[in-house]
Symmetry: C2
Subunit: 459 residues, 2 copies
């Protein structure tokens, strides 16, 4: 029972970071600007303000400010579910028989079940401050929609959620949590928008995609006075808010004098990875410390490992700005039997630039291997992990087993972004051995990449 480091490190509430950290300030190569799809010119505040909240747009375009003060009202809300524990995975280490020291930052101890609430409350706060009536958004696995519903309920804002159809059908209970928090939830594509009707007429059997749901939510925001669109990932502002994950993680490690060797995070649009690695990447960018950083993505949606670093639309409907990012093409939709999250065709522009600069590595993993790791983790650590988070668990276990072979006592930190309580349909597939791996062929990926938009200066 004697442990120098407790099973769970909780910071005192006074130790919760009061600033968000902006990686862009320390990047020599700044992320490429968003472009207006009509003019091909970098987007200005004036371009962004009709779509997003003004204060958030300032954060979006600010590549220079290193730290942003977290408004007091948001700090207060953070007290509702933060600090999140940094857990020493003693049980998992023992089960693996590894000399590695494994830690995970657990962001699932709130009803949204994930880290998404960190940015949802910030975005709702600025929307309220601007005097808006409500916000619109999309949700895939449902975590972001739930988080935004909770945040909007807190600030008494209207919340319209477009939910990727296959998730809507697989996760009726997610929908009901959002309703309990007062949100409207519509399966996407839907007949409520022009872009939805267009997609449905062309692909009546589509199971939906995040890109398509984004198009619908944006259309509703720009055509309804008093509404703006908010997004749970990809954007620079989201990575800024999510830096609270990494800041807390680092504070907890520092409190016990622990130096991480390796940081592992799952990557869909980048909200978790960008938040988790932020302060570590900051040290790396400033030359103060070195870390091995690994992004883990699904083999069925491999933006980093098989995509192209190029300007592309963020949405299927091609009405959103162009972002320079690792992308599989805005028309790419992962196989319907891909079970859990991380379905976005693109990637955060900040992370894309860092990856292009060789600041971290990326790996893709197959979903049966992911659920194998998830089940192993659940049985020894007592938390049923979200499929998304389980991508990181897979690689953390792989790395810990390598340490077992080499005898290295590496300190591995990974992000456990959330719980899998609303993903039991996927677990059922895995338990029943009906889950399989579908990996897109080179031809399919090439066919989408061939359709990337023409942008001046881009081959």
């Amino acid at each position: 029972m004697k442990q120098e480091v407790p099973y769970k490190i909780y910071l005192d509430e006074k130790e919760i970071p009061t600033k968000w950290y902006n990686m862009r300030a320390d990047m020599k190569n700044k992320p490429a600007p968003l472009l207006n799809p009509g003019t091909g010119q970098p987007l200005t505040l004036e371009d962004l303000n009709p779509i997003f909240c003004e204060e958030l747009n300032k954060q979006e375009l600010d590549n220079d400010t290193q730290f942003f003060d977290i408004p007091e009202e948001i700090q207060k809300f953070y007290r509702m579910y933060r600090p999140a524990p940094l857990v020493r995975a003693y049980f998992l280490e023992k089960a693996l028989g590894t000399p590695a020291k494994i830690y995970y930052k657990f962001e699932g101890n709130n009803t949204s079940g994930s880290h998404k609430l960190n940015s949802a409350i910030a975005q709702a706060y600025y929307a309220k401050k601007e005097g808006l009536k409500g916000v619109t958004t999309e949700t895939g696995a449902g975590q972001w929609g739930t988080a935004l519903s909770m945040a909007c309920s807190y600030f008494d804002l209207d919340c319209k959620v477009y939910m990727v159809k296959c998730s809507y059908e697989q996760k009726p209970f997610r929908r009901e949590v959002m309703r309990t928090y007062g949100a409207d939830v519509t399966p996407s594509p839907s007949l409520t928008t022009n872009v939805g009707r267009k997609i449905l007429s062309e692909h009546p059997d589509t199971t939906g995609s995040l890109g398509c749901a984004i198009s619908e939510a944006v259309e509703v925001a720009v055509t309804n006075p008093g509404y703006r669109y908010v997004l749970g990932s990809v954007l620079n502002q989201v990575l800024l808010h999510q830096s609270i994950i990494g800041m807390e993680t680092k504070a907890a490690l520092d409190k016990y004098g622990i130096k991480a060797d390796m940081i592992i995070g799952c990557a869909g649009g980048g909200s978790n990875l960008g938040g988790l690695i932020a302060p570590f990447m900051g040290e790396k960018l400033r030359g103060e410390a070195d870390y091995q950083i690994i992004a883990v993505e699904p083999a069925s949606c491999p933006s980093f490992t098989r995509g192209k670093y190029a300007y592309d639309f963020c949405d299927t409907g091609m009405i959103c700005p162009l972002a320079k990012m690792y992308t599989l093409g805005s028309q790419f939709i992962p196989s319907a039997n891909h079970a859990g999250g991380l379905r976005f065709h693109g990637m955060s522009p900040v992370l894309s630039q860092l990856y292009a600069d060789g600041m971290f590595e990326a790996r893709s993993v197959e979903q049966t291997a992911v659920f194998e790791a998830a089940t192993q983790f659940a049985r020894v650590e007592g938390i049923l992990p979200a499929p998304e988070s389980s991508h990181a668990i897979r690689v953390a276990i792989d790395e810990a087993l390598k340490c077992k072979e080499t005898g290295e006592e590496k300190t591995i930190v990974f992000g456990l972004t959330g719980t899998g309580y609303f993903d039991l349909y996927a677990y059922e597939q895995y338990n029943s051995k009906t889950m399989n791996d579908v990996i897109p062929s080179d031809e399919i990926i090439k066919s989408y990449l061939d359709k990337l938009p023409k942008v001046p200066g881009q081959e």
Copy 2:
């Protein structure tokens, strides 16, 4: 932002209690002994050992030992999800505009989603120590079954769960969590047991009951070598293990010099209530302090408030021992439209004796009022509560509103036993306004109480 008391009080791991407290040791009037239904004589260890684990039977019959050391292996497992936070409900207080200070002990931060894991791990530990192959049990809402699955997985024990049929159908995802942890789950009543076949032939459309599921699980345990039956509530041993809830709550209050005025807990079989109030009741029994203690039960299953204090069977099949308790009759089954847990017809014998002695009060609440409180709580405190726990929330809110009228600054502590992530079917009913209240008539209750078994000395 200035608070003397943080939003969440987490004990240090070193401060987690290392002993369970046995209220019976301080009771002048001991709970009545369990009786052998055949002979009418008090049960001995020899009677109990074929059904339950030996070490647990010693705990069951021990009315004298005040504290039991928690075995080190169980303490270690507790570190996986404990300490549980004691939360100051600042957000709820503000929403209510009450001068009352509200605290809740939150036991839902583990995958079973409730406090049930506290006893599950203890029972699995003793089963393993005895060299058993496996255990059988029943589950209603599913928390206990999930908790036991997790505990058995940790100790590599076989786990057979009989799940009340209406819960099995309403909560397919609960079943899948149990499967993920390696348990066998059978809807009850089933054709796999004699008692199940008998009940099904008499009541083919029954939605099941805890009492019936208990009968099936016991039958399987006593007819399969190497198996014993374990139970998640009612028994003295369960209250003993669950005292960790109250011990931690009291330690957290003491750490900040807080004296509770009122302790509120929901009551089904008594596992949560008996655990939460244990050390407070201890002080009350020893004359060291006074507390107002309130048990809250559903109006559709009102054992304390409308039942009779008498010897009765613990199960529908009438094969279990007789317990003296507040009961609605072993054949009582709450209305099928009763949504959440707390469905047991009887009550812990320890709590029954304390209630008969006037040591606490009891209230029954209707389910629409319970879900109203649940929704209000979820929206401001960020946790979607279990329907069971929401019974306590209802009364905590009622009491806080009384304080608003009187201006009293009472300190109210209630038990938030778990989360409602697997109860969205019930929330959907509430959100859709299709939920109603069904309260058993006096005639119905009398009809069941008239059938109580004849026991020598009992009128």
